[in-house]
Symmetry: C2
Subunit: 613 residues, 2 copies
């Protein structure tokens, strides 16, 4: 074995969506994080392309959502075509691609390589994470004697550089394996990849189509007597086509390896007849037989974690692959950062598998139903709409609820909390509402404000604080939080009141809600109004969260935007208890940032002498 | 003289806002454009910071408006403070910083250097324009014998590189002098800079203030017995302060050169008393006596043009400097490109001075009134609001109307056209309305669509084309346009109909409205609906433009978004007459772009064999 050349807190194997998301969770830290990938750079073309709103919100917390949105194609409509009694295809249904609760587009599409490039550039901009291309692991060893010592580097990894043909040995505290469906790490750890191939062969193709098919810029599903084609509009005039290569009849003898791009185009032409279709540029294509598999384990000894395609594969047609991978990476990313920075109970890390594995299993079931549903030719408008809306609750993430754990409060409390915020729940994600900054009147979306900085947030919804009794109540809460926070530093408090913004003076509020920084003065980005904005309407935050303006509540939000607990304004003890159970052992004193991003302005709550260093 | 080392179509002297805007007008051309600047790179800190909505729209046409908006601070409110009878300052007025017609924020602020950096990066991305830093002109000669030959390079420029201490001689067809208030070129051409200094000395300072002044994140004007301070919130927790250094009493003996940053902070502290103010980081400050001047001439022999601060200076307080410069650069930029590419009548270039010089003169008058207005302490709410709204019609550009010229149709036609589009006018700017793409349902703002590609646009407002007679009328218009366009290539046709989007099939429309490209098929970004969108509301285009849904009209739009003429749907002869007068001599055949930007997708209208090459 060559001498150890590097000690890293986290090694991430695989610079795809899961790995790059996990890596971006470490922006702004002093932790040593390294990403390696066998490839010589980001994907050039092809592979995944669908970004759900939840993924865009995650990218928003990294400060890059807008950059990606700008280049993306929005999907606004879904159309269904079926053969009429003469076998001629006819448009039978047009549906808005819209999930009412989201209040924004459900999905956009963009080439995976462009998304990876922006994520990689963001790492470079922050400078905290290094990507080594042309690099793959050839051996990974975990020293179990060291695994319970939080300061140890128990994992020894041998890396091979394929460009220079050199070997390097590094030691890591933690390893994330996001190395794809054929994961070397999963195989090396002997973790089973349970499931099976479906028996249908599909061709997938990115193409600039020259066609008179009228719905080419919408999401379309065309059932014909000659098979099925599904299309998704993409950036730069591209369209992603999915085409059944066995003419709609399951043909187990068809080998995906024998399929050519010409075969796929010919099949599409036959299905779309009598409309014409001529192939323009085809930057990428593939043929596959869908494998639906989930790994038996997502982690090994709470030191090595698998994420993304390494632990789940399924059909690409629901556009869930990249999104589930991004959510995997986001989930393990903040937890590792929190354990490393806050020295909390490493039991937190067990929640990665307990939260993400059920999602992967649900995704396989969803995928199976989705494939069958799209294969049907007899769906009525109402059936389709109902099934579609139900599906989107899952794909958009708004229907996902993580189980009770160290970081999701128990159900007992939840029964009570449900009364305080009838449209939120423990273990569910905060909706992306718009709120208006108290100090300058600028409206902002929640996930533009909730930057990925590894902190829990205490979201205070105090109701109408302009009114006498509520003003006092809010002030008393400030006293209690200031006192309690000496035990829970690194927590940010954000207030969203329901008063008219004009009736509140920021400087009259308890200082804990607008913390002071010796270098930069008061923080103006911690108090917001649920009020009308001058140019962008009203966010209706209290209504969307089901919070009563007289009762109010506190929402403890995890660094990934999921709700840990909901409690009453008087019940700050619940929050203190939460952090006690998490056993945050060491205080990391955040210092006010000098360079504050235009969107985030994440000045950090510091209570000066109150913090025990 | 050293041998000529370079031949350029356009030399731009000065890489400030005016020069960089002019340079960005040439993105995507094969013309040879070079920018030089004495500085060693973009401004590091300070100078201008206010971007009006019109400037952001111009940046949108370059594809960089969103990038700049993301980093900027929005200004949403203006507050006035005055001394009470005891001399204690009190907030006397809060006004929404809102111009109803704009339907978006009127102003954002961002450091000039960051704006210049994004504009420079955009030139680099397109690769058509080169910036040479550390480079200044030491001699410019115009050979008048060659000036009427469009193919000649009549201007010989001697350049000095201050880093390498070398001399270079280049020849240019045209020169733009955007080299600032002390313009070397203006002095070299002996052009008078008429006007005078005002007699008030002001300090200006960018600072992170540590203060309990409650309106520090709004635009504020504080009149006190100890002087006046005006503040504008900025990105990154900065505030721009303007402070009268002579205590509000005009003091001609005060020398701006003697003012220090400490003086300015002390003056601000005195004015804001009893509120506390402590200086955090001060990245930039300056002191000045306002000079209000306009150059007697904006151009020389229609070969050399002056723009920006080189031809107008005034108070920075109305935030007009950078905006007027950007508009100057945008105006001369497209005209030079059009003359060089289309070989049209160079009389077009005379309209630069006839359009921009009156604006500069109006700006000086506006500035004078604005300064006096803000100096008053007795303004009532209604007076302020009235004056403010009137001022914003000017500063936002929506009240500006260019006079009749080769590219703005005469008033006679206008009287008629005013009936067709009651809220538009010849010589005025198109409002930035939202429209919905017919093919995919995605809403887009006009100036995101109207990329700066040097083309005139025929905007067709055909009304409700789903209804029988109107369908035929629209189709006949298509026939006429297809025929007429053989004489006017390089014109893009964009349709905004008022039918329900669901009632129109793109493929049923005349091909001239959705042009074909042999490589990429049909164009899906030329037909839009004035209809509700799924996620972003309704643009109400016809209502905002005052267009009758039964009558409809055609708007001929200049490459810079100003209306050349408005005519009836049957009156395409008016458009042909317009281009005949412009004498476009040579046809430049646009080819469909391969790489289509996510926002713009500016596939070019090509009618194949119909075009006379």
């Amino acid at each position: 074995m060559s001498p150890v050349s590097d000690l890293v807190d986290v090694l991430i194997i695989g610079a795809g969506p899961a790995g790059l998301t996990a890596a971006n969770c470490f922006n702004g830290t002093n932790l040593r994080v390294r990403v390696i990938d066998r490839k010589d750079g980001p994907e050039k073309a092809g592979r995944a392309d669908g970004l759900k709103s939840i993924s865009l919100e995650i990218l928003d917390t990294f400060g890059i959502g807008d950059t990606i949105l700008k280049d993306s194609q929005r999907c606004e409509e879904i159309v269904l075509w079926n053969p009429d009694k003469n076998g001629v295809i006819k448009r039978t249904m047009t549906i808005a691609d819209k999930v009412e609760e989201l209040m924004k587009p459900r999905e956009v599409t963009l080439d995976q390589g462009r998304i990876e490039a922006v994520m990689g550039e963001n790492l470079q901009k922050h400078g905290s994470v290094k990507i080594s291309w042309n690099t793959q692991p050839v051996d990974v060893k975990l020293d179990s004697r060291l695994k319970d010592d939080p300061e140890s580097y128990p994992i020894t990894v041998t890396l091979q550089n394929n460009a220079t043909d050199t070997i390097e040995t590094i030691c890591a505290k933690y390893v994330i394996g996001s190395d794809g469906a054929r994961s070397w790490l999963r195989k090396h750890l002997n973790i089973k990849f349970t499931g099976d191939l479906t028996d249908s062969t599909w061709g997938v193709l990115n193409m600039i189509p020259k066609t008179n098919f009228p719905d080419i810029r919408k999401v379309f599903v065309v059932h014909s007597t000659r098979g099925t084609v599904m299309g998704v509009p993409r950036e730069d005039k591209l369209v992603r086509f999915y085409i059944s290569m066995d003419g709609g009849h399951r043909n187990t003898s068809l080998d995906a390896k024998s399929v050519t791009a010409e075969n796929i185009v010919t099949a599409a032409q036959a299905i779309l007849h009598p409309y014409t279709l001529e192939a323009g540029n085809i930057p990428w294509w593939s043929a596959y037989c869908v494998g639906q598999r989930v790994a038996d384990e997502f982690s090994h000894q709470n030191r090595i974690f698998l994420a993304g395609d390494a632990v789940h594969t399924h059909s690409p047609k629901a556009g869930q692959g990249m999104n589930t991978s991004i959510q995997d990476g986001y989930n393990i990313g903040w937890k590792l950062r929190y354990c490393l920075e806050r020295k909390c109970d490493t039991a937190l890390l067990s929640t990665y598998e307990s939260e993400r594995r059920p999602i992967a299993q649900a995704l396989i079931n969803f995928d199976r139903e989705y494939l069958e549903f799209f294969a049907r030719t007899d769906t009525t408008h109402d059936e389709f709409l109902k099934a579609y809306v139900a599906a989107q609750k899952f794909t958009t993430g708004i229907g996902i609820q993580y189980p009770t754990s160290l970081v999701v409060q128990t159900m007992e409390t939840q029964a009570q909390s449900h009364f305080l915020a009838t449209k939120l729940a423990h273990g569910m994600r905060l909706p992306d509402f718009q709120m208006v900054n108290q100090s300058d009147g600028v409206p902002i979306r929640a996930y533009h404000r909730l930057s990925s900085d590894g902190r829990f947030r205490i979201l205070v919804f105090p109701g109408d604080i302009a009114e006498g009794a509520a003003t006092d109540r809010f002030s008393r809460l400030g006293d209690r939080l200031a006192k309690g926070l000496t035990r829970n530093p690194g927590v940010e408090i954000i207030t969203v009141h329901s008063s008219r913004r004009a009736d509140v003076e920021l400087m009259d509020l308890h200082p804990v809600f607008r913390p002071w920084d010796d270098e930069n003065g008061w923080n103006y980005w911690t108090v917001y109004a649920d009020d009308d904005s001058y140019h962008d309407g009203h966010g209706h935050v209290y209504e969307r969260c089901g919070i009563d303006r007289n009762t109010g509540c506190i929402v403890l939000l995890r660094p990934d935007g999921y709700v840990s607990l909901i409690c009453g304004l008087e019940d700050t003890g619940a929050i203190e208890g939460f952090f006690d159970r998490l056993k945050v052992k060491e205080v990391v004193v955040d210092i006010g940032k000098k360079e504050v991003n235009g969107d985030i302005r994440g000045d950090v709550l510091t209570l000066g002498s109150l913090i025990q260093v």
